[in-house]
Amino acid sequence: MALRHLRTLRVVTSLLLFLPALFIFIDLTGVLPPWAVNALASAELVPAVVKIFSGVGVGAIGLFLVLIMTVSFGRVYCSTICPLGTLQDIFSRLNRKRNSRRRFLFRRQNYLLHYGLLGLTTALALGGSLFLLNLIEPFSSFGRTVVTLLRPIALLLNNGTASLLGAAHVYVFFTVPLHIPSPWALTLSSVFAGALLAMSYMRGRLFCNTLCPAGALLGLLSRLSLFRIVIDKAACKDCGLCEKVCKTGCIDSENMRVDFSACVSCFNCFDACPTVGLRYRVSRAGAQESPPRRVNRRRRALLQGGVGAAMMVLPGSDTLRAVLPVPTGKSRSKLPISPPGSGGTGRFTSRCTACHLCVSACPTQVLSPAFLEYGPGGIFQPRMDYSASTCNYDCAVCGQVCPSGAILPLSIEAKKLVQIGKARFVKDDCIVITKKTECGACSEHCPTKAVHMVKSEGLFLPEVNDDLCIGCGSCEHPCPSTPNKAIYVESNPVHLAAKKPESKKAEPQVKPSADFPF
């Protein structure tokens, strides 16, 4: 078999999988149904692993396939399914200067850092904090990169087209409002995305073999792989071309060894090899590691120490919260509110990988990436932002798309009875009291009439029935009171059950059979 065709196969497969993965995060108008979005994300490694712990086991099929594939052929996942892998390849390719002259070189992998991070990430995750995982997890990093950097561009293009056509009253496209999350979350997210793309531009798949927990896990598994890439010493002409095209730097052409646990199975080497010096064959030999070569020990120690210290300090620290300004809305709500189906903030923050698939899919765009609202450990995890919008009563899209099970898929009927928070009315701030005129915007939008109007001194004043309230924010969002909202939703850290609204059958005042009343 001509092994060089493997590269073409890899490129085609990765693009076929990459484009849908890109689209589910950019889908501005909700073209794809939620189940399709969920299905497209179902083979993503880390969300699938987290899903095992979330009480919804159906995601395990995709995970199983990935594991089988890895112990058979190595980290094929990293070059096909992983959208961040393909995104890095695209950026790496953009670096034409390197493509023409100075290309990649063998690099002894820093397993201490990579596996150490995997261990630390796992330990923190098992301890309930996904802080570290969410910063370096590839699917989430991809999602955030797309939502932060590419989605706004797509949105502006869409809105430009919409307004041009709209001027001619053609409404095939329509404007999509741009919701800007907390500026801090946005900035940080952009910095991470920028760093990641710069890394791939300069050094190919550096991220995959230093930080990526999925890469580390699959790297460990690929040590057991049945088929692996080896250099056939008899056929090799020692030209070194394979090493130059290897974007992970896992081929040591000098010593004719391949570090297969670092190989992302991109098959560039097969394509580059002028002879048949490289083989993809059944091998029982363990990962072939090369002797150390040109290692800057001091730089490595600094890096490891720095990363380690940062990881230890950040997640549990309240100092960060004290240093950075916490965004203050006009709402008086103090604790963050997690989406319906997440069970509560505690369960949610220990299950959500912050991929932002729900942020992108939410039809009302009420989900907004948190900065420090959940605490420093909950960075980027979405929360309900009622200053931006409200949670639509007849919608449960977030749970339907969530790939990690952090937001469980609920039926619409079940979702309508989940109380994620309770409305709190501040009488002294209410328009009806301060301006002595009717208002009632809160009750008007309330889908359960938990917020209802009661006559008081000749005017109608809102009143909240806690039992019926589901905390959807339909009252808080439209409240016209300034500077403070007169009604806001207070979080239920553990979600509760609301009562089903009941009312007696309405009777017409004027019988339909009677004459006109005028």
Binding site: G166, T175, K435, T437, P501, S503, Q509, F516, F518
Partner: protein, 304 residues
Amino acid sequence: MDRRTFVKQTVGATLLAGTVAASGRFSRLFAAVPPLPYDLVAVKGGEPEAMFDAAIGALGGMTSFVRKGQKVVIKPNIGWDVTPERAGNTNPKLVSRIVHHCLDAGAKEVYVFDHTCDDWRRAYKTSGIERAAKDAGATVAPGHTESYYHPVSVTGGKVLKEAQVHELILESDVFINVPVLKHHSSSQLTAGMKNQMGIVWDRGYWHRNDLHQCIADFAGYRKPDLTVVDAYLMLKQNGPRGVSLDDVVLLKTQLVTTDIVAADAAAAKLFGVDPDDIGYIKIAAAQKVGRKDLQNLNIKRIAL
């Protein structure tokens, strides 16, 4: 661009704009409009389509309102993500029938839109209005972002001096207001005038600054050429969104009039409240936007 091209283009554009203006809404100023036989037509006992056929027939057909080549905008209530039987939105069958009548009368374009309360795409879809209007031949337009709204001054407004109004209302020759009759937690009752909150952008201002006065002020800004009150199904309680089917009663009634205040006064009676108990009806009548003295109006009553 050289100077000659600039001059040519400017002159061309001006001529074009002038032609559009002349052939548009201002042409109505010079057209002879025969007086209508009735101030208000009330129909009951039929399906929405049949009731509208009867009502518009009594007023001389849609040609009394829509002339050949005109642009029509229909503003139903599409506020909520609820199904037609919940009566939170205007009946889609009625919207469809009105679109048909407009096109039959020679309308060049018929637009349908609302500034919804729930997510606009869900409301458009669940209400059944998007499908019904499109199938009938109308263009369904969005109204969910500020970019579609332009500032206007509300002459005669006591509190509401300016508003941002949807461009289709500003550009169209004929404006047909098609509210659904409902209980309303803020204004007690919603029909014609309250429905017009859906053609403006900043509704929060109204809520902050005496809701009833603002509703009445705006009613005087651009009176609809026709108001059709859908009272086939009526939301009797828990309005304006409604909580369940328990809130809905079957009334099988429809009101058609050019007087938006008369529409609301008659709607109040149908609902079972005194028009004088509804703030904005009282204010609008006092500001001479229209008439609430139903006893002095020429009303055609039709029972099907």
